[in-house]
């Protein structure tokens, strides 16, 4: 597995949201993309998963250019996303939401019980709530559901868009522990975060995205001590808070 984004530009009308960024995600890694609001983090993920069209540049997955493959087929290739704001189906039960994660897989019937068991093991809370409507879950539970649903597709690479958004500090810790655990089980992860402290301490490598451009690329641990990153994304005293 290797996901490569080469010189990617994306426009919203006349506005250039991504100005030729390049990212590489290799097998087994957690790669994080940090940046402020409006830097283009979500756009990057949406373009990789096919929801936004590429203006120029290439997205290469396992050696194949997937620029023109529609979003609904990318899920089957092994690119799975837990979208920004969780994006669960509020009117479906937890179980139905999880089943949707496999919608397009030809082998869904054989895999279903095995993968459900795997997700329930990672998130026992989801098992308790299996027959409850997605819309009745708490924010943290919805995030668990979004990640669990993405895992149902047996992804080669899991795209996570701000999994910590709007969650209590305890729950953030919990979610990031599970993300690390999922990675240890062999799933490659591309993590987009504003919570730079958490993201950088969990990831192997990191990119800093600023107004549509990659301004830094380094090992995550190194960025934690980078003066610019410290002042711009970590804030003074961030270490004491967490």
């Amino acid at each position: 597995m290797r996901l490569e984004v080469k010189n990617l530009s994306v426009y919203y009308g006349k506005i250039e949201a991504l100005k030729g960024i390049s990212i590489v995600v290799d097998q087994g890694e957690i790669v994080t993309l940090i940046g402020a609001n409006g830097a283009g983090k979500t756009t990057t993920l949406k373009t990789i998963s096919g929801l936004r069209p590429v203006t120029s540049g290439e997205i290469i997955f396992d050696g194949v250019n997937i620029n023109d493959i529609p979003a609904y087929e990318r899920a089957d290739l092994g690119i799975s996303q837990a979208p920004e704001g969780r994006g669960i189906f509020p009117g479906m039960t937890v179980l139905e939401n999880l089943e949707m994660g496999k919608y397009n897989r030809k082998t869904r019937k054989q895999e279903m019980s095995e993968d459900l068991a795997r997700v329930y093991e990672l998130f026992p809370r989801l098992k308790e709530r299996a027959s409850q409507a997605g819309g009745t879950l708490s924010g943290g539970e919805q995030q668990m559901l979004a990640i669990g649903r993405a895992l149902m597709a047996r992804p080669k690479v899991l795209l996570l868009d701000e999994p910590s958004m709007g969650l209590a500090p305890m729950m953030i810790q919990n979610i990031f522990n599970i993300i690390t655990e999922i990675n240890k089980q062999g799933v490659t992860i591309l993590l987009v975060e504003q919570n730079a402290q958490q993201a950088l301490s969990r990831a192997h490598r990191a990119y800093v995205l600023e107004i549509g451009k990659i301004t830094k690329e380094a090992k995550a641990k190194d960025l934690l001590n980078d003066p610019h990153v410290k002042s711009a994304y970590l804030g003074t005293g961030a270490h004491e808070i967490f």
Binding site: S49, P70, G91, M92, Y103
Partner: protein, 337 residues
Amino acid sequence: MINLRDAGATWWENASKLKRRSLVVSLVVFIYALPFLNNPLINTPGSMFESVLFYPIGMFVLLSLGLNIVVGKSGLLDLGFVAFFAIGAYTMGVLGTRTNLNFWEILPIAMGLAMLSGVLLGAPALRLRGDYLAIVTLGFGEIVRIVAVNEEFIGGARGIAGIPTPPDLFGMKFEILNPKPYYWLLVTMTLLVYWAVRRMAVRRPGRAWDAIRQDDDVAQLMGVPTFKYKVWAFVLGAAVGGAGGCLYASQILSIVPDQFSLNVSILVLACVVFGGIGNPFGVMVGAAILAYLPERIRFLTQPRQLVFGIVLVLIMNLRPDGLLPRKKREKFESEMK
């Protein structure tokens, strides 16, 4: 206020197979027997009850069921549904008067043409969402009517007269003065559509439509080919509209473009919302009531429309989710948004 839908659903879930079957059978028998029920309580003074049963009641029930696939199931706001009804009716009108084909031969053609126009409208329009889609479909409905007014080949503003009735069926004669066979045929068609819609709802297309309605983007991420399913929803809705139009034309025997105005689209949409958007059974009940009420109060003459409007506003205030809303949990959809 008690939730009629939940109360009914609970009874249904706890009822034995025998109870359920007997309820369904008696309900169906009752519906088929309605034309014989000459009761002053339900009769429609001022117009022939049997005729009212066919149009507007039966016809609006069928059309609402079709529109519910589009608006209720897939969440696509279609304000031009009358276009498909018109295309079905005009297909019957043109082919019925200009060829030797009979009703049964024209019906599949009418449905096919309506479906084709559903694709032609849907393929470009379904790339739009929400209000933009509503505006395009609104325009489409008007385009079809205006083309009908201006195209001399299909009668222009005078429309088409002398449309043949369907051939006899099981010894029943289809005549203008005897709407019963039409009504029974319409009920049969409606039951078939209802059955098909219910079957689809619990299968993969139903799931796909649910997902599209709740979150289009996420549905794509899950691997749902959303565009394909949206076009399918349009096409299936169109087929129902076309079938309704075809039968309608063969009953009233002459059609003019004015019968296919925007009002019809709006009224069908009102039926869907009034009955309980997304719940086919509720939609049928709602459509039957909304179509029946103006006929029942026809004796009021002038203030009739006013009373109808007041009743509509009152009921939508008391039951904002419709008479029989869909499953309770799906209400979280609106709350989340």
